[in-house]
Amino acid sequence: MFRLKIHRVSGHSMCPTMTHNDYVVCGLWPGYRISVGCVVVVAHPILHVIVKRVKCIDNIGRLALSGDHICSTSTDTMGWVDAHHVIGRVIFRISA
């Protein structure tokens, strides 16, 4: 299954990697892998659609996320996120 989506970035918690009003192209494709350090768009159960970096992955495949900016919502606040909540892995950024 291929899926490509464009999202508009809102907020500054991923600065300097991406900033407010940037666009990101994210996608899922057969055999895609989410690894530590990659940036993902996630349908978070509480925070809705967020863009964050994968900080670590536990042994059952859940993701811990973090922002690139110090002021980001903390990893603890975001909690563990199941892999099926991932909308896509960010593959391209269109900077504002």
Binding site: I6, H12, M14, H20, Y23, L47, G67, T73
Partner: protein, 166 residues
């Protein structure tokens, strides 16, 4: 160019937004935190310059100087952070239409905030406070709240823009 093309597509198709908010959007925005931080920078600059007037510094003076410099830098950073959050999270197209130069003002605040970290010149700290006051005035105007100018009732006793909330 790619961004403006995507932006046009966005207007046509309406891409979903992916939040990189610093917190859960709570709609609580207030520039007073930035104003108090800017006043603190000014106060720390004054206290540093009081030490500079001494002919000889004791160990206690050196310790005090270290603390003042550290706090000055922390509060200058705080000014930048508070302003960026309001500008990035609160200001949307209607506010940008009302204050088309607001991004230029924010950029100026960020540059002046950095200058206040690098230097101990009072005029830079004064400029920072004036710019933050301008930002506060614009912010309250977007909220439909009148403002007034008063001297803050504590050192450094400088002019501050306050909202008329009653």
């Amino acid at each position: 160019m790619l961004h403006s093309l995507t932006s046009k597509l966005d207007k046509l198709c309406g891409f979903d937004s992916a939040s990189a908010h610093c917190d859960i959007p709570c709609k609580i925005y207030d520039p007073s935190g930035a104003q108090v931080a800017a006043l603190s920078v000014l106060r720390f600059v004054d206290l540093i310059n009081e030490l500079a007037d001494k002919t000889q510094l004791s160990v206690a003076d050196h310790a005090q100087l270290s603390r003042l410099v550290r706090e000055k830098e922390i509060h200058a950073k705080k000014v930048k952070d508070e302003i960026v959050v309001i500008w990035g999270d609160y200001f949307k197209q209607p506010q940008f239409d009302t204050f088309p130069d607001i991004s230029k003002l924010v950029h100026n605040i960020l540059l002046t905030g950095s200058a206040c970290k690098q230097h101990i010149a009072r005029d830079k700290a004064e400029t920072l406070l004036q710019l933050v006051n301008q930002f506060a005035a614009a912010f309250w105007t977007t909220k439909g709240v009148e403002t007034y100018t008063a001297t803050c009732p504590y050192p450094p006793s400088e002019q501050v823009i306050y909202p008329k909330l009653n």
